[in-house]
């Protein structure tokens, strides 16, 4: 085994959660001891990543993956423990991180590349390739604030892979973007692997981990719950997610007579908002593609509570009286949920295509998609809330 490119040794991270953060002198003086709770985001996490290998880091939301990645990237300091890392490191921690909305795409490429350690001359040399990779030739002189989230991810990813890092950290950003671009990114990651680069990939797409990683680590409540071969760790992850041992769990199945081409979860003013606000409308948009003509397609979704894995909401086209006639090609199905009422937390979405008559599965993606719900901001304006009034004789 080669020397580790990255060594994480007994890393723990404690956050202090303040009820109210003292951010002024007065608050500091009046309450020198603010009530704070300790929260351990990571506890004694250790693993090595040999040079040239790819590690998949999985775990449900809040398990500490992003905190760990930020410590490795040098953005946060561990509370205890040591991280040793060799070679040039590039981190893609969030879509559009390091982009400035007022600058053009071109200016942002230079800004972003400089964050990742590229000189101006090196960026000049890589510029054409970056733009071509991102497929944004026509938009480089537009301000980034007019970009869609997909365009941002493409540009961010394009810059990061052209930095030629020895160690590449990727956090979940691949989940956005269309299928073709995702395929291109995976292709690029494979090339990195062939070139002997080291990769740490944080993702919810468990099949990506089994497909491209050599090893996987699963974090659970800040601790390493499982580590080893991706297939084993992914199985363990599903076990924890579902709360049962379910050896039959398959992330994706079906005859593929019809396929799920892409799924988009739409809310708020656009995809730029990170999380759905409780009570806001949510649209699940499913693009379907047939491989051979399909006569009686039924499209359905189910939303599962990430904490309990209990289905909280589902619907199907047939139960809404919509029958999709025999077709060959593409169709788009939108499920509009007027108001998503459930408590804040993580939710998973399962999408299924099946035959209305026989129930045969064409294509099912189990808990492939996820989203977060946050609490609605407190309403401080007057709003029209219907009030029922009754008077009874007593």
């Amino acid at each position: 085994m080669r020397a580790p490119a990255l060594e994480v040794a007994d890393v723990s991270k404690k956050f202090r959660l303040y009820r109210e953060r003292p951010t002024s002198l007065k608050a500091r003086l009046l309450h020198s001891r603010m009530r704070a709770e300790d929260f351990w985001a990571l506890r004694d996490v250790s693993f090595d990543i040999p040079e040239g290998s790819s590690l998949g880091l999985i775990g449900h939301n809040g398990s500490g993956k992003t905190t760990l990645l930020k410590i490795v990237a040098g953005i946060l300091r561990p509370t205890s423990g040591v991280v040793r890392q060799r070679g040039r490191l590039a981190a893609l921690l969030e879509l559009g991180a390091g982009f400035h909305p007022e600058l053009t795409g071109r200016e942002n490429v230079y800004l972003n590349a400089s964050f990742l350690g590229l000189s101006r001359r090196e960026t000049d040399a890589a510029y054409e390739a970056i733009v071509a990779f991102a497929e944004l030739e026509d938009f480089m002189d537009n301000q980034v604030k007019f970009y869609s989230s997909g365009m941002l991810v493409r540009l961010g990813f394009a810059v990061a892979v052209h930095v030629d890092p020895e160690v590449l950290l990727i956090d979940e950003v691949l989940a956005v973007g269309d299928e073709a671009f995702q395929a291109k990114c995976l292709d690029r990651i494979r090339r990195f692997q062939r070139d002997g680069r080291t990769i740490v990939l944080v993702t919810h797409a468990l099949d990506t981990v089994t497909k491209i990683c050599d090893r996987a680590v699963m974090l659970h409540h800040g601790e390493v719950h499982a580590a080893g071969a991706p297939a084993d760790v992914v199985r363990e992850m599903r076990h924890v997610l579902l709360g049962t041992t379910d050896p039959g769990f398959v992330p994706e199945e079906g005859t593929r007579q019809a396929e799920i081409a892409s799924v988009e979860l739409i809310w708020g003013s656009g995809a730029s908002e990170i999380a759905l606000r409780r009570g806001d409308p949510l649209t699940i948009q499913v693009d379907v593609r047939t491989n051979e003509p399909v006569a009686d397609l039924d499209v359905d979704f189910a939303i599962l509570d990430g904490a309990t894995n209990y289905p909280v909401l589902d619907a199907r086209t047939s139960s809404h009286g919509i029958s999709i006639d025999r077709f060959d090609g593409k169709k788009r199905v939108r499920f509009r949920i007027a108001s998503f009422p459930y408590t804040p937390g993580k939710y998973w979405v399962t999408i299924g295509l099946s035959s209305q008559q026989t129930g045969r599965l064409y294509h099912v993606q189990t808990q492939r998609y996820g989203f977060d719900v946050v609490d609605a901001v407190r309403v401080q304006d007057r709003v029209d809330v219907p009030v029922d009034v009754e008077v009874e004789d007593l």
């Binding site: 490191l89 007022e102 230079y110 400089s114």
Partner: protein, 301 residues
């Protein structure tokens, strides 16, 4: 956070500042600094019709207002614009750096939380933006000095580099400090506005430095010379340095009272050198504080 193929070790300990190594690390990431300065300038001027002309407008408005004030109060003296501007431009570099620097980490919270780079770059870019304005304004002032036929005074001009170096080091030191402290205590930026107002008037920019010396000479409070106390303000000697270099003459009209403090060039250079040395020590201290605190910026924001 070195990017060369060395081993980077991250521990819980706040790293000790090793100046030479850190300077090299920041220098390696100078592209970030340059890009941030470009970004700031672009964002500042991009949606404005006049663009960079704005940076010249500020001293012109100041000049107009103060010329009016000194004329009506009969406090004017020959070539007042050159006197005022040579001190004012130095002051602007100082105050704009401090105001921008204090906000630099907070305003870039998005970067600090998601991207890794030497955090010093943030206050440095605030100073950089102020420097761009300073250079533009100074170029116009120098042109004006030449075009108006006022000309340069040679031995005096030699003190300019010393005054500039002192200004820059003192500004950097204070900017680092404010940038780091403001992350934890957001009052700093409000306090700063008030402090800068007082500071401006405690510095001989609008009024003549000689007048202060004349009034304070020989007076003592608790055994401390008031003139010495006045000079303890680093900006006072820095402004006097800039004025001596560009305004040049201590007594513009023979027989009338001087405008600049009647001290020898060598004495002023000595004071500036002392302030410069003290500022370097101060910079070392504030940089160290900044460096130690910067490890927690991502968490504090």
């Amino acid at each position: 956070m070195s990017d060369v193929a060395g081993t980077v070790v991250r521990t819980s300990e706040p790293a000790k500042l090793r100046v030479r190594r850190r300077v090299r690390e920041v220098y390696e990431r100078r592209e970030v600094l340059l890009n941030l300065v470009r970004k700031e300038l672009k964002v500042k001027y991009t949606a404005s019709v006049l663009g960079a002309v704005w940076s010249l407008l500020n001293p012109i408005v100041f000049l107009a207002v103060f010329t009016f004030v000194v004329k009506v109060t009969h406090n004017s003296f020959p070539h007042f614009p050159i006197y005022l501007l040579s001190g004012l431009l130095a002051w602007n570099l100082f105050s704009v750096s401090l105001a921008g620097g204090a906000r630099s980490v907070i305003d870039n919270a998005n970067l600090v939380k998601k991207v890794s780079f030497p955090r010093e770059v943030l206050p440095l870019s605030a100073v950089g933006v102020a420097l761009v304005d300073f250079v533009l304004q100074t170029a116009v002032l120098l042109l004006f000095i030449l075009a108006s036929g006022y000309g340069f005074h040679l031995p005096e001009l030699a003190i300019y580099p010393l005054a500039f170096a002192t200004l820059l080091v003192f500004t950097l030191a204070l900017t680092f400090w404010l940038a780091a402290l403001n992350v934890r205590y957001r009052d700093i930026q409000h306090l700063l506005n008030i402090a800068l107002l007082v500071w401006f008037w405690m510095t001989p920019i609008v009024y003549s430095g000689f007048l202060v010396k004349d009034v304070l000479r020989g007076r003592k409070v608790l055994g401390v010379s008031l003139w010495g106390l006045y000079l303890a303000n680093p900006l006072a000697s820095i402004a006097m340095g800039f004025q001596r270099a560009l305004y040049g003459v201590v007594r513009p009209v023979v027989g009338e009272r001087p405008v600049l403090p009647d001290v020898s060039l060598a004495w002023l250079a000595g004071v500036l050198a002392t302030v410069l040395a003290a500022s370097l020590v101060f910079l070392l201290y504030t940089w160290r504080r900044f460096f130690e605190l910067s490890g927690d910026f991502a968490e504090e924001l």
